[in-house]
Subunit: 479 residues, 2 copies
């Protein structure tokens, strides 16, 4: 077990230095490599397999609801980006500009898409004419660029992978319903697949997306009690349609402006999975999206029958649609244990000569380390049910973290004290004024996470200005 | 049927003006829209669904062979692109350059990847140390940019979608075997899924990929008898490894340079599908990759029981894993016939009151227009078997086109005459000299397509210079 110890020692303990622990896990679990361009990270096979599993979940949900995938251009002419005033103000300072094609300067600068609202609008201007052409329910899987100053694996890339959904509707009601429906899709994915409980709500005016009328968000709490915005859904009204002059003739042959939404979910969530579930031995992956759900490690693999038995178990689990891997390499079992713990494989199956004699194998849960010897009869059912249990336990543990670290405050000072001593989310009432939101940032060091759908009445006045309260808000320190 | 006629009349006849016919189909079948940047096309839902089906086929084949997907950065620093001399010479003239990030000029220009060999090499330099780390079998699905002067939907984009496989091996033999294996994967996909017969072979020195030692290719013949290069696989030897100083210690602890391959398959093949199978009514899609395999069109759909029966058939076919769509819109049956013919749906199922009485429906093949009334009993089997027959017929018809339009020549004059009067592929012997290849281009207007694996002995001398022949070559006019 010497090698196991060695590898585990190489990562910083989670509660000693969370940021360093995070960086260690990202490298040791072989998720990320650094490229020559700051903030443009390489997603190695294990990270990409994780992303593919998330894609499969979301893409299936989108298609079930009637969304169609498309591919829009990578580059946006400067004049096109500028058509919607708020949008360009929000994004222009952080885009990368292409100025030359081949050896020639371009007549107009082109930016690499930071998001594609303007491109979808241009296209819709070509193809939407009548109410028969609506709704348009589009999505694209791609990467976008935002020229950030500070970058961090998964959490803040200059280039990141995501999906961006863009839809166009005949009425405002329909577009609002779509915005809310897609937030619910993200919440479903987070809670039921990534085992990350979410707070659903609406962003304040200050925090909303550039050009949106309303931004919906799901907010998650990480192990260090900081917040991670994990998916957003925007309602644009007809602002973009007016700026791009997109109209359609309704059933009464009147020209109308359509209403628009967009919504995005990115590889940033992989950072969320790491920071929600990981521990001092490395990653802990929710079974539903783990690239490998069960790792089979033979003990004394050169003893007669062991390798064959291990292979037979692999075949059985594969047959039962379980993502299983068998490691027959020459590394020691101890080395292998540490390796797949680091990679967060939910379940380890050990099989050795003694187990063979007794017609059993040993299962070890990654999430809580529980070890059980079980009969090889009905292995498939046992494993499936254990994977379900792990998925549920991981969610429950994360939910406990949110519940235990969500506090109520009635003054700015209380908010500051909670954040300084315990961290977490703080709920307060709020008058709705930007000035009070800014003061909360200034004096308590928190940003508004959302105005939750699930409102509570905590009092009658705003803790900042003492004026009548309008809403309850979640505050926190965010990634 | 007035509307049907009208729509069909809107596209140019294929044998009148092939280029215009192609452009018409691409627009009328709703595959492509033009964006504000020349050569950057929008793939609309129908084109993207087609691409997704091709992706599914290839991605499945790659994974079965042990390849892993990754995501590499979009941007390449100029100094990195320049590390391999032949490679940069080939690509530098046609890349797009990023010079500003946000409002600041960058210290070094970054190009948008035209292909990613240099990025994979940089990464491998970080992670490959020992023979245990080999082989690396990587792939990525992404878009790349090449700043072409002339552009055309699918065939020549400034930005196109593709997959690029990149692999690294301990020995030259292993890398060559990989290069050949992946060409065979492409041939399999083309022939057995896209119904496009291929000629497998090797490119001449002149036509090979920038930086490669050897480029393998599959060449297809379009309906207008021109050639389309449909997939290429490159063997690099250890040239890149030396340029990027990638070494590994072998089993005897000696430092060695690894050997490398790359291979790519792009949305250009969608252009190939259109030009191989399309006809005067529009697209004709091979069933195995058609987004919709069966379109159900109810006749007199408001008559009692018709819509319900159509829906029941849809459910039955869906249950049998057939990609089926039911069109219950208010358009006339004639309009719908023309619409789905334009979109190349392989099989049309018509059901009306009379069919209901007789417990039957009518099936119409898109490829040859054959119409049969069949019993609703065993519908699933009939449809499945018909889809298989259509797939096979489409391949056979395309193969016939290649066979009938492949000629043998013994002089440059003969080659020119064949190309001018009939078009197609011409096979000749060749001495192997660049001068003769250039003369063939100059005097007969053809480029070498490949030195096929299936060599024939057509004579002893080169038709250009009269010197001893080394190989048989395929010549043609290419897209």
């Amino acid at each position: 077990m010497a090698k196991e110890k060695k590898q585990v020692e190489q990562i910083t303990a989670r509660d000693v230095d969370f940021a360093q622990w995070y960086t260690d896990v990202v490298k040791k679990a072989e998720l990320i490599d650094y490229s020559g361009v700051k903030g443009m990270f390489i997603l190695r096979p294990y990270a990409y397999a994780l992303w593919e599993n998330i894609q499969k979940v979301l893409d299936g949900m989108f298609k079930k609801l009637g969304h169609e995938n498309v591919s829009m251009p990578l580059l946006i002419p400067e004049s096109l980006l500028q058509k919607e005033k708020d949008h360009v103000e929000g994004f222009a300072p952080e885009v990368a500009w292409v100025t030359h094609g081949g050896n020639e300067p371009l007549p107009e600068r082109l930016c690499i898409r930071p998001t594609s609202e303007t491109l979808f609008c241009e296209h819709w201007g070509h193809v939407v004419h009548s109410w028969r052409d609506l709704p348009k329910l589009y999505n694209q899987w791609c990467s976008v660029l935002r020229w950030e100053k500070t970058t961090r694996p998964f959490l803040r890339h200059r280039e990141f992978l995501w999906q961006e959904g863009h839809t166009l509707h005949a009425t405002a009601e329909e577009a609002v319903a779509e915005t809310e429906r897609m937030l619910e899709v993200y919440a479903d994915c987070c809670e039921n697949y990534l085992a990350m409980p979410v707070i659903r709500g609406v962003k304040t005016e200050k925090e909303k997306f550039a050009g949106a009328e309303k931004t919906y968000t799901i907010e998650c709490m990480m192990h260090d009690k900081k917040a991670l915005q994990s998916g957003t859904s925007h309602y644009f009204g007809d602002g973009f349609a007016r700026a791009f002059d997109i109209t359609f003739s309704d059933k009464n042959n009147r020209q109308q402006y359509p209403h628009q939404t967009s919504w995005g979910f990115s590889t940033r969530t992989i950072g969320g999975i790491i920071m929600t579930h990981g521990d001092d031995s490395g990653l802990v992956l929710p079974p539903r999206i783990a690239p490998v759900q069960v790792i089979i490690i033979p003990i004394a693999q050169h003893k007669p029958g062991v390798a064959e038995a291990a292979e037979a178990l692999r075949a059985r689990l594969l047959q039962a649609d379980i993502r299983v891997k068998l490691d027959l390499s020459e590394q020691s079992p101890g080395w292998k244990f540490a390796e797949y713990e680091m990679k967060g494989v939910p379940l380890r199956l050990e099989i050795g000569p003694k187990d063979l004699e007794q017609g059993q194998c040993v299962l070890v849960r990654r999430d809580d380390g529980q070890k059980t010897a079980i009969s090889l009869d009905g292995l498939e059912e046992t494993v499936s049910s254990l994977l379900d249990q792990i998925q549920q336990s991981m969610f429950d543990r994360a939910k406990e973290n949110v519940d235990e670290n969500t506090f109520i405050a009635h003054t700015v000072k209380e908010v500051r004290e909670i954040i300084e001593t315990k961290g977490g989310f703080v709920k307060t009432m709020w008058c709705g004024d930007l000035a009070c939101e800014l003061r909360m940032k200034e004096e308590a060091g928190v940003s508004s996470r959302c105005i939750p759908f699930a409102q509570e009445h905590l009092g009658d006045i705003c803790p900042c200005c003492g004026k009548p309260a309008q809403k309850m808000v979640y505050w926190g320190v965010a990634y």
